[in-house]
Symmetry: D2
Subunit: 282 residues, 4 copies
Amino acid sequence: MRYFLNILCPDKKGIIAAVTTYISSKQANILDLLQHTAIDIDMFMLKAEFETDEQFDEKNFREDFIDLGNKFQMEWSLVLADKPVRAAILVSTTQHCLYELLLKHEDGELDCDLPVIISNHKKLAHVAKQFDVPFEWVDYSKGKKFAEAEIDRICRHYDTDILVLARFMQIISAELIDAWRNKIINIHHGFLPAFQGAKPYHQAWEKGVKIIGATAHFATEDLDQGPIIAQDVHHVPESCSIKEFIEKGKDIERRTLLTALRLYLSRSIFIHKNRTFILGKL
Amino acid sequence: MRYFLNILCPDKKGIIAAVTTYISSKQANILDLLQHTAIDIDMFMLKAEFETDEQFDEKNFREDFIDLGNKFQMEWSLVLADKPVRAAILVSTTQHCLYELLLKHEDGELDCDLPVIISNHKKLAHVAKQFDVPFEWVDYSKGKKFAEAEIDRICRHYDTDILVLARFMQIISAELIDAWRNKIINIHHGFLPAFQGAKPYHQAWEKGVKIIGATAHFATEDLDQGPIIAQDVHHVPESCSIKEFIEKGKDIERRTLLTALRLYLSRSIFIHKNRTFILGKL
Amino acid sequence: MRYFLNILCPDKKGIIAAVTTYISSKQANILDLLQHTAIDIDMFMLKAEFETDEQFDEKNFREDFIDLGNKFQMEWSLVLADKPVRAAILVSTTQHCLYELLLKHEDGELDCDLPVIISNHKKLAHVAKQFDVPFEWVDYSKGKKFAEAEIDRICRHYDTDILVLARFMQIISAELIDAWRNKIINIHHGFLPAFQGAKPYHQAWEKGVKIIGATAHFATEDLDQGPIIAQDVHHVPESCSIKEFIEKGKDIERRTLLTALRLYLSRSIFIHKNRTFILGKL
Amino acid sequence: MRYFLNILCPDKKGIIAAVTTYISSKQANILDLLQHTAIDIDMFMLKAEFETDEQFDEKNFREDFIDLGNKFQMEWSLVLADKPVRAAILVSTTQHCLYELLLKHEDGELDCDLPVIISNHKKLAHVAKQFDVPFEWVDYSKGKKFAEAEIDRICRHYDTDILVLARFMQIISAELIDAWRNKIINIHHGFLPAFQGAKPYHQAWEKGVKIIGATAHFATEDLDQGPIIAQDVHHVPESCSIKEFIEKGKDIERRTLLTALRLYLSRSIFIHKNRTFILGKL
């Protein structure tokens, strides 16, 4: 079996040695280790991927690790790498982000399961059908409370680990966010923190910026303010119209959302005080 | 002689033909012509570079052009391309932008005169000396009003066309801005409109952005809100400290300021309602 | 009606004025004009888009233009902009470029007709069906000569203007290239002129390059040597495997091929001595 | 004291644990650890930075490490991180790369000593003087053999660790390369492996490429074929002349050379079969 062990704690001497020695003592073999110290805030982060043999006892590993964790004041998590993450895709009527996820998945380039597509419209049901993924329509006409309860129910029904808002044009309420804390990835079509809120491309054009961008972030109660996971940008020639901003932006959106999801899947994201640190390559 | 004719007006049929015919009628030869219609606001922009012979009468060209200008409600300007623009550099204690301008100028890659370097510190006087450019120290201890009067006097003394704030760490007052309207280029070390004000790299780091940037803009009364001329960005690896943000940012700053100045020199900047349009290549 | 007039000729004084005056004399209105002089070879290029009224007589325009064309030794072409270009897509078994073209077309972001998809395999027939485009399988088992005759026949049957090789894994023979001279766009998955021939990503990995790229070019008799239309690149982290090169490369390929096709559709490509010049924005 | 331990060996289970345990057993504290397995060739690379206390015995560490090294067939090196690397700069008449190194060094952003500037011309002696670095002119008129003996003597005299060819327009002979194997960094003004040899910008322009680049590599007997350390590129607008290629290229050259030197200084470069692998951020 392969496991990911992620650690976040105040920086101190000896953490790497303590952790690697501990893993070895459990007869596990480290395959990959990344660590970083954020010197501006003296925080240490480590991600280790290790392989175990048949005798490995996960419960025992966890119990014995508690002492080490306490000693260094670690926030830590251990997850089985072999079990695919299950990501529900939420979408409204725009298809470019949805297709990107489905096509990469079909080509074997997105290492997760896509158990369900949820939408507040029926427009993209045929896309779900093409790729043989269940499509669940959620009726927002009965109110957000009702609709979000449905989303929550569907996600649980499909044993979902994470929600990916692939241009889902509904503001998520505090309740649903709380139920899926740091498990909802949204793509915002602006280079946050600039251009929050509606019509970011229009805002950007009015302002005369020379570069447009997109931002993938965890959804939080504060709209467009959650921890940023990934961002990308594109220079825009001067003669671009708003329509062309939107067209060019779509390519940035789809690749930024994909990057953010991949970082999540590779357990590369650490969150500390509403910002992320990424350990891993894009 | 070579001239630049720049035109900004509401879009209508026939402008290009009218202008090119007019230029030809004055026995001038068009060398280069760029035009663009901003379809979102129906505004037409044109930049023509033309060559004249000895009989060319600039006064006559201007007078006869008035009718055409009025017919199409043009804002227009005619400038002699052969006469080098004279750019004063204002600097405090950071040298990277200053060196960039001086080195490019020395290598023949910055097509203007650099008649004077003005500073509120004496620290970089030796750099001015190396490159044989007059250095004028301005005493801010006597107050901004006094100091800015000095700056204004020095710029006029050196027959300056434009002021380039190459990391000049003083807020310019409304008076000086008004006296040099759209003739003061500033480099802000953040990707505007995000991260206005002080310490933009610290702000960006706190926010956890994945890309940092710099913005060259015309200085206006509203700090960091003037028309954006050029922007550039750089992806920052996750493990960057604030110090590394600043280091990486310096390279973006110097090249963005240089780009903005070059766009000014090539008469490529059109300003309409506090945003720019650029006709020309970077 | 809207027309594109493209001109390539040795540089001389007065070409812009002569051409704009000519267009005006035919009661046509210039909408857009781009021109460039390649000073290293003293060649002048111009692209004009103009609008005509009902009296406009294309035949007359062409006949009367001959004198002007001869005077300046112009290579010139006049095409009706309103009539959509018809692009046949040729594909083998890899779907990312095909999907890119179909999705952009469906979203109204690719301004041409896609009358037919031709393939030497049947694997992607279902994609054609989804997007409701005729799919024609060509049997290469009967030899290249036979198969290419089929391709030629199919393209003519569907009234095709241009062939887009969207990862079509067959070398095109001189006969077919000659029949569609400068009308076959190929995407090569390497940063030409480096890494010609087979397995460019493997070549690039072996060489240890830090940036990978793709190149869209017109197919010529010399494999991977035709005029380059568009190129793009991506920095690759050191730890990339060949498999990851290929994955990352696919995104570069699809956007580079799309860019090249768009440049063709906007009549922005000028060819001179086996290299292109592009007048227009990407 | 801080040390860098670099390891390159065939991939096997248990290397990370063995190495981290070994370092801990010598009472050293790991500050930073990066490792990578190149799965295409099954090679393992590790870079560890560790801190020692006063009792640390480097000789003992080396001797006891031999067994571990042999067990895993490691190529390994241990260097003291606290001792600055001494880099000699070799330059001809072009100043942009020289200034880049000197300015970054002066700003505290290049973590090495620059003990000497060596040149086959006297043109840039004044720059050396400004920055207070000894300048040594080498007379190539007496032949390459004589001149290179001088270079070798000067470098040894100044206790140099590495030679940085900052646009040094002389081909280095096999003798000098052999004496400084993998210790001569060259900047080539082309995107290798394309455009080897003379006038790469002219070659690139003739070929009509849409992106230009520069390559920093270790000098080897085969001109422009040595292991690539860093590369960077820039999109070039179509209307660029060769002169503009050269101007734009200079910015790429200086930053690519700087990047390569920094990677060397941070011990991030691993060489295997004439290609590099980089462990570390750019």
